[in-house]
């Protein structure tokens, strides 16, 4: 019986979806931000929501659902009806959490359907008072004579994964010092209490400009346009350090392909505008439009990559 019902539903859906996609959206769309208002995810979601609602003629409501890292908001979307009317803005940590946390209240693979990639911003390795190194060679020298302590904004965050990936690639060993947030971590690196921080470019840039921190390498395959004087890790001789902060849009699993592709196309249109390029540039980020399938592949690859790194570096939480 169940099978018959599924088959019938599937057939009906295949028939109906083309029409549905053309009409989409016929009612307001909710974009869930799994963090409190005011953060980078939130500001980005509001920008995207404004532009989409202009395009669609339907309001896009940004709904903040903070709590448990991003788990509460993510779990909410994974359980929402798979019709494209409830979307999630996720970031790179979405692919990192599963590597360190066994009991997430949602399944990062089976619970979601990737919709669109928004943009990327590289990390930058910054050092403060306690490490006099001016470039990465000097830094590696120091790291070999004493065990350096890298600050993180928590267990299993992008800062920790970035630092571990760097350490594994460079063949050095560093110990993590965990803080409750990026600001606390950064403050202690400036003060010379902790040695380095793998920071988002956004947060670090003003402090590099102000001379409180020194940026040694960036983690993307090309230099950041906002700070072209800082070499990539690759150029500086440390191969394989490929980690960037990114943001993307996910829908609940089972959302029809037609609707996913329609949203993907519309988001890519928004990403192509000068206004969005400028908006992302404020965060030192760049738009990286791609198809829903390519975004899905990226998520798969990253989930695997961070799992491997977590095992090697023994990053885990019970």
């Amino acid at each position: 019986m169940k099978f018959v019902r599924y088959a019938l539903t599937a057939a009906a859906m295949a028939f109906a979806t083309t029409a549905v996609a053309q009409q989409f959206p016929a009612k307001p769309v909710t974009l869930v931000v799994p963090f409190a208002a005011g953060g980078s995810n939130d500001i980005l979601a509001r920008h995207l929501g404004d532009n989409l609602s202009k395009m669609w003629g339907q309001p896009v409501v940004v709904s903040n659902m903070p709590g448990a890292g991003a788990a509460i908001g993510s779990a909410h979307v994974s359980k929402a009806p798979a019709d494209g009317y409830t979307l999630l803005i996720a970031s790179v940590t979405f692919t990192m959490n599963p590597a360190v946390q066994k009991n997430l209240p949602f399944d990062p693979v089976k619970g979601f359907k990737p919709v669109a990639m928004i943009g990327k911003v590289p990390l930058v390795l910054v050092v403060g008072k306690s490490v006099p190194a001016k470039n990465i060679q000097e830094f590696l020298q120091t790291a070999k004579t004493k065990e350096l302590a890298y600050a993180t904004s928590g267990v299993g965050t992008v800062n920790q994964f970035g630092a571990e990936l760097f350490a594994q690639s460079a063949g050095i060993k560093m110990i993590p010092v965990h803080y409750k947030g990026g600001s606390e971590a950064m403050t202690d690196v400036i003060g010379g209490h902790a040695d380095l921080f793998m920071s988002s470019m956004t947060q670090a840039l003003p402090l590099i400009r102000g001379g409180q921190l020194r940026g040694l390498v960036v983690t993307s395959d090309q230099r950041a346009s906002v700070a072209p004087e800082i070499p990539t890790a690759d150029e500086a001789g440390v191969k394989g350090v490929d980690v960037e902060q990114w943001w993307g849009i996910l829908a609940p699993a089972g959302t029809p392909d037609e609707i996913v592709n329609k949203i993907n196309g519309d988001i890519n249109k928004v990403l192509g505008t000068e206004a969005t390029k400028e908006f992302l540039a404020r965060d030192a980020a760049r738009p990286t439009p791609m198809s829903a399938q390519a975004f899905g592949k990226l998520i798969q690859d990253e989930l695997q990559k961070w799992r491997t790194i977590a095992e090697k570096a023994d990053i885990q939480a019970q």
């Binding site: 946390q101 009991n103 267990v155 102000g210 404020r282 939480a317």
Partner: protein, 500 residues
């Protein structure tokens, strides 16, 4: 003279009609949410943030910061009148403020809080304007070891928050420490006491516990009595402090301003810590410590001055470095980013009119607040005559809105109700909740910083003594312990005298 020029520039930017209006709007709104228990500046600013996108950057920041320090102002009102802290920083104001109200001195307590806040706010702003740069450097000296020692000192001072038996106070502190353990352990990522509930992963929010224990607990307890408040609303003596009151409150305000300014600069500390420290100090230096908890005016003046000074100096790391000291400050930075101003060390030079305009607006705002609040004292006191059956449902409603607004979570509401019954039980057992709150705030900070210090020193305990600031703070802690232990022994003998 450079400072003078800068301030002139600041006042020129802040004294436009438009900016004055936004400052006024922010102050009024801040006072309002300060008065309403549970509803705090964090939730209010995050709700209003999207509406400020269309404003001039300076106007937006002036209004948002007005909400922030206005809330620190208004928080004392409900604390004094109905025994509910309107803001987390006014938890200690409850201790003596409410007692003063019971003695018919609600007006005096309110105007003391307003005048103390005004003075401290001005001092804090002056410090911010004149010494922002060197103070930032000083704040960097505080690493994990220093924070650990500072928080430990605070924890020992917490004992003085209780006016009852020492053992109960220590018990409440320990209970607070245990509640602070709930959530994800920062150092290892391990979940503690979360019972498989994702809602507890980030721990319990301060507002949930404070509203539960203080507001809900108080309301449940009051259901037992029949309108006893008439008894002391009838004997309101005077609204304004007498000369004798001034003599007692001025030194407290001065000390509170100093402590608040210092604590506010440290990004890891926060407003509530400033008022906790100020209260402990007032009780320590007082010649009549037994009056604390029974309506001592110093117990209102000191902490209220401290939290307002801290509200001002908390802008130091935010403005000079773009590093927020608290979640609310992070939102202020978010507002800057939205307006295309990159927060960081360059703001002072690249946007001088914004930087100095904001500082100038704080003086103007503080003046507005005192003008706004003093005439209101009479009206607030009248609130005491509103019958319970009208007042308490209204308070309950606002508390629920406030608790919900923290995380948009219904779970938090149920949790607060649970803490309400817990708070009622504490009242029945005559255990004071203030030490519990301090344990709850300080516990996680002590643990995190201790473990950080240990990682950084590779397990060498000597780090706490080798670093001079830390060593001094620990020495003061040791002295405090002795000072607490001695009177405790002496009090045993004097207990008989106090039972009159």
């Amino acid at each position: 003279m450079e400072l003078f020029d800068n301030l002139m520039l600041g006042f020129a930017s802040a004294l436009t009609i438009q900016n004055l209006l936004y400052a006024f709007g922010g102050c009024v709104l801040g006072t309002l949410i300060g008065v309403l228990p549970g509803l705090g500046p964090l939730a209010t600013i995050s709700m209003l943030l999207p509406f400020t996108f269309g404003l001039e950057p300076l106007s937006a920041l002036i209004m948002l910061s007005g909400i922030y320090y206005g809330a620190a102002y208004g928080g004392s009102t409900t604390a004094i009148l109905v025994n509910l802290p309107g803001e987390t920083s006014s938890v200690v104001t409850v201790l003596d403020g409410y007692q003063m109200a019971r003695q018919g001195r609600a007006g005096v307590a309110l105007s003391t809080a307003a005048l103390g806040s005004f003075f401290a706010g001005c001092v804090g702003t002056l410090i911010l304007a004149a010494f922002a740069k060197p103070l930032t450097e000083f704040a960097f000296e505080f690493g994990p070891a220093e924070y650990f020692s500072l928080m430990t000192m605070g924890l020992v001072g917490a004992v003085s928050l209780a006016s009852g038996p020492l053992l109960k106070a220590i018990g409440m502190i320990v209970l607070g420490l245990l509640l602070g353990l709930v959530g994800t352990d920062v150092a290892s990522g391990v979940m503690r006491f979360t019972f498989g509930l994702p809602q507890l992963w980030e721990g319990i929010d301060f507002i949930v516990i404070a509203v539960g224990i203080f507001a809900f607990g108080e309301i449940i307890a009051s259901l037992e009595h029949k309108e006893i408040r008439e008894a002391y609303t009838g004997k309101i003596t005077n609204l304004w402090p007498t000369l004798a009151d001034f003599k007692r409150m001025m030194p407290a305000v001065l000390r509170g301003s100093a402590i608040g300014s210092a604590v506010g600069i440290l990004p890891g500390a926060g407003l509530s810590l400033a008022s906790f420290f100020a209260y402990s100090l007032e009780k320590k230096v007082s010649r009549t410590p037994e009056k604390f908890g029974r309506g001592a005016i110093e117990g209102v003046a000191g902490p209220e001055a401290a939290n307002n000074a801290a509200a001002q100096t908390a802008f130091v790391p935010t403005l000079t470095l773009g590093i927020p000291g608290s979640a609310t400050m992070a939102l202020m930075l978010g507002a800057m980013i939205v307006h295309n101003i990159q927060p960081g060390p360059q703001v002072m030079t690249s946007n001088p009119s914004l930087f100095w305009g904001l500082i100038a607006s704080m003086w103007i705002g503080n003046l507005m607040l005192v003008i706004l609040n003093l005439p209101l004292v009479g009206i607030w006191v009248k609130l005491l005559t509103v019958p319970f059956k009208v007042l308490y449902p209204a308070i309950l409603l606002f508390c629920c809105v406030g608790v919900y607004s923290v995380q948009n979570s219904v779970f938090d509401l149920f949790l607060a109700v649970g803490f309400g019954f817990f708070g009622y039980a504490l009242r029945k057992l005559e255990c004071e909740p203030a030490p519990l709150m301090l344990g709850f705030v300080l516990g996680p900070m002590i643990e995190e910083n201790f473990r950080r210090a240990m990682v950084l020193s590779k397990g060498d305990f000597a780090i706490f003594i080798h670093r001079p600031i830390s060593a001094v703070l620990l020495a003061v802690t040791a002295i405090l312990i002795i000072a607490v232990a001695l009177p405790a022994i002496r009090n045993k003998r004097e207990e008989a005298f106090q039972e009159d």
